[in-house]
């Protein structure tokens, strides 16, 4: 138990500190690195909660895929050494106020609320179950969201290609367009 | 096929035909053939209607066809006509037919112009044949929307401003109408049961008084805006002066009648109790319309403005007569709608023709046109005389029926208002003769105008069509009057039950 608690606090400390660093760091590549830490720490939390598959996905897809993507795009669009200008104090103040107020309200609400757990036995999450559920059409089956997500991914892929592709001829010759 | 649905179908087919055609010259020919067919169809409809009535068919509406098209709200495509709608349909096809010929010379975006114009006509025809409030409203909107394009694209002068103003005011009005129609609908089953949009069904029940007090003014004002009710008439001068010829003709000739017809068919017919209670307010407003429009017309300098204000005056008379709530006055109102439709269409057609020759509409810049373009000038004089209510033309029949009817009202207030409205016939004479004197008579002042050419064949078709109907109604009004009288019976009996004179 203690070990669990220590692990939890360790992860949460990492998450909180690096979350804040991610959003405040003035060097963009560093921010990306901090984000990586946050995501990895979240994966640790999933492990702690006994969702190994999810943790693995988090590590490979999030920490591995998305962060790499982000870093690539940073390299494509920014100078790495460039430091951001500090945030305007007014903007920072109001944003911080809004965020803190939001966090405050949320936390108060969480503390107020009585969560009641069920007495049912926990289900072991293994790969077979995950695979079966994802492709099952019966009760507890997730075939519809699965298909939807597939199409979404396809669409996103196509969209990403189309959007990022270089645009056609930039200045179409006005003389050649047909005049009504 | 129901004969009434043909009235919507033919314009739609004509539009399709126009869309398919490549050659611009054929566009006009197709449009004129389509609308010519429509005119023949109207003649057939009038014939069928009159013979059905002679055969003893006493149903309130004839040629009824009813198809559900939106079940959950009980909206039907329901059509049917009585003498009033038949007359209005006849008017519409005449004006549209004449309008096509009046815009024969149009060069710019011809195809689109005729499509919009006929689309407008489709809306108007649909409006007159509908007996389902929702369908009616749909067609009403269909008629208003092309107006914006027609004025905004093919207009002259400050056309964007005018088009915007006109459309916004009419849209505002249709918002009122929509609220009114929905209000009527939701109160159409006071004792429970299926709520209805059908005019005939609603007319058989009594809408609760509380609802009537709210929805009568809404619908009446809503339609009144289109019928140029004071003080919501200001779209009319601007809109007319900017609109191209055929659009002015259609607008003043037909679209403004939608207001009068709607006010009659929806506001008065379905809610006579509230109409009876609240009429006095609107009678005052319409009396103001009548006199005020005429006075305003006296000092205008632009031909179209003069005519627009005269329309305000004449259309005010329509609403005035409807509010008198007796058979004769209402009969007069319907005849006035037809008569004014023909007259004002003729006016606008002629103004357009004169404008295309002189390139000005300011009367002070013209003079002595009678010598130069006698045909058009004589037609203008005829239009003017018809407008000032000379016997032998339709205007006289309409006005006299209205005045005679309105004056039979037992209430002294109504009779005094009638007398005030009668003064408009003198003022009308003043501005009509003033225009004729300045514009047509006298020596020809401007040498630029000495070599103008007189009317072309298509212009003659347009004007002669209109004039012959004006004269026909003026000389033999009995058949029209009796056709309308018969159809007014239901509402009259409803009112009489309410308030036995």
């Amino acid at each position: 138990m203690i070990a669990n608690q220590i692990m939890f606090f360790l992860f949460s400390a990492v998450i909180i500190v690096f979350s804040i660093l991610t959003v405040t760091s003035r060097k963009i590549l560093r921010a990306a690195a901090y984000l990586l830490f946050v995501l990895v720490a979240s994966a640790g939390l999933y492990f702690m909660l006994n969702y190994q598959f999810l943790a693995a996905v988090q590590l490979t897809l999030y920490a591995g895929g998305i962060v790499v993507l982000i870093i690539f795009s940073i390299l494509l669009t920014s100078q790495i050494n460039q430091k951001f200008e500090p945030v305007e104090w007014k903007k920072a103040l109001f944003s911080a106020l809004a965020s803190i107020a939001g966090a405050f309200v949320t936390i108060i609400t969480i503390l107020d609320f009585k969560f009641s757990a069920t007495a049912e036995a926990a289900k072991e999450v293994n790969m077979r179950l995950v695979g079966n559920s994802l492709l099952s059409v019966g009760k507890n089956g997730y075939i519809l969201p699965f298909e939807v997500i597939s199409i979404l991914l396809l669409a996103a892929m196509v969209a990403a290609i189309v959007i990022a592709k270089k645009a056609g001829p930039k200045n179409p010759d006005p003389q050649t367009t047909k005049q009504e | 096929m129901n004969i009434l649905s043909l009235f919507v179908l033919i314009p739609v087919l004509t539009i399709t035909g126009i869309v398919l055609i490549k050659d611009m010259r054929q566009v006009k020919i197709v449009a004129s053939i389509g609308m010519g067919l429509q005119l023949l169809l109207s003649a057939l409809l009038i014939f069928l209607y009159v013979s059905a009535r002679h055969a003893g068919d006493t149903a309130e509406m004839l040629f009824i066809k009813d198809i559900v098209w939106f079940k959950s709200l009980n909206i039907h495509y329901a059509v049917g006509v009585d003498g009033i709608s038949v007359a209005m349909i006849g008017l519409t096809s005449i004006v549209v037919f004449a309008g096509i010929f009046a815009s024969w010379e149009l060069e710019f975006l011809t195809k689109e112009f005729f499509i919009s114009l006929i689309l407008l006509a489709t809306g108007v025809f649909g409006f007159f044949i509908s007996i389902d409030l929702f369908t009616m409203f749909l067609f009403y909107e269909l008629a208003v929307i092309p107006m914006y394009l027609l004025i905004g694209i093919w207009g002259s002068g400050p056309k964007e401003y005018s088009a915007m103003k006109l459309t916004l005011m009419l849209m505002g009005a249709s918002a009122l109408i929509l609220v009114g129609i929905l209000g009527i609908h939701f109160n159409s089953a006071p004792d429970g049961g299926q709520m209805s949009f059908n005019i005939l069904e609603i007319s058989r029940i009594k809408i609760p008084m509380k609802a009537q007090y709210i929805f009568f003014p809404l619908t009446f004002v809503g339609f009144g805006v289109l019928g140029a009710l004071f003080p919501f008439h200001t779209w009319s001068p601007d809109g007319h002066s900017s609109a191209p010829t055929a659009v002015s003709m259609l607008h003043a000739g037909v679209l403004m009648k939608l207001g009068g017809y709607g006010a009659f068919r929806v506001a008065m017919f379905l809610m006579p109790e509230a109409a009876h209670e609240l009429a006095w307010i609107f009678i005052i407003l319409t009396t103001i319309s009548v006199v005020y429009g005429a006075f305003s017309a006296i000092v205008q300098k632009d031909l179209k403005y003069i005519n627009a204000y005269s329309s305000v005056s004449h259309c005010g008379l329509v609403l005035f007569a409807i509010l008198m709530m007796n058979q004769t006055a209402m009969n007069g109102a319907i005849i006035q709608m037809i008569s004014h439709g023909l007259m004002t269409a003729l006016f606008f057609a002629l103004i357009g023709m004169i404008y295309s020759r002189t390139h000005t509409r300011l009367i002070n810049e013209m003079g002595g046109l009678m010598k130069v373009i006698p045909f058009l000038s004589v037609c203008y004089v005829i239009a003017g005389l018809a407008s000032l209510g000379l016997p032998g033309f339709s205007g006289f029949v309409a006005e006299m029926t209205i005045f005679a009817g309105a004056f039979q009202h037992p209430d002294l207030f109504h009779r005094i208002m009638t007398i005030i409205a009668i003064t408009s016939i003198v003022i009308t004479a003043v501005y009509i003769l003033r225009v004729i004197a300045i514009l047509l008579l006298g020596p020809a002042t401007n040498e630029h105008y000495e070599h103008l050419t007189d009317a072309k064949w298509y212009e003659k078709v347009s004007t002669i069509t209109l004039i012959s109907f004006i004269v026909f109604i003026g000389l033999a009004p009995f058949w029209l009057s009796s056709m309308i009288r018969g159809s007014l019976q239901p509402i009259i009996s409803k009112i009489l039950a309410l308030n036995p004179f």
Binding site: N4, S12, I16, I20, T22, V23, I28, A31, L35, V38, S42, L45, Y46, M48, N50, Y51, L54, V57, Q58, L61, Y62, G65, L69, I70, F72, S73, L76, T77, S78, F84, V87, K91, S95, A96, A98, S99, I100, G102, A103, T106, I110, F115, S116, A117, T118, E120, A121, A122, K123, V125, V130, S133, P145, I149, L152, L153, A155, A160, I163, A164 | -
Partner: protein
């Protein structure tokens, strides 16, 4: 659950992370860093889902799958967003969010 950590700890953690993300979203000017803030927000939501699932409904897998789907959505969102960002960069030669205000009025 016998982890020894109560549920609300997870929730508070997620809330802080969420609002850190919000703060980032509001203050950052670089589109990519904004995207990162969005990732933070999504991640915090995931943590919530998973925690609820584990603590309150351990016999079901709704939260689990939802997180899975959120990760997939986040991935596609990132891909599209980055494509858009690169496109914007090409057109405006900047990815500063304040300079991209063509949609104004």
């Amino acid at each position: 659950m016998n982890t020894g950590v109560p549920l609300i700890y997870f929730l508070i953690l997620a809330a802080i992370m969420f609002f850190a993300g919000v703060y980032g979203f509001l203050t950052r000017r670089n589109l990519i860093t904004i995207l990162m803030s969005v990732e933070l927000i999504l991640n915090s939501v995931n943590i919530n889902f998973v925690a609820y699932n584990r603590y309150l409904y351990p016999h079901k897998l709704e939260g689990f799958f939802f997180s899975l789907f959120v990760i997939a959505v986040a991935a596609s969102e990132a891909a599209v967003a980055i494509a858009i960002i690169i496109n914007i960069y090409r057109r405006f030669t900047t990815i500063n969010v304040e300079d991209v205000d063509t949609m104004r009025y």
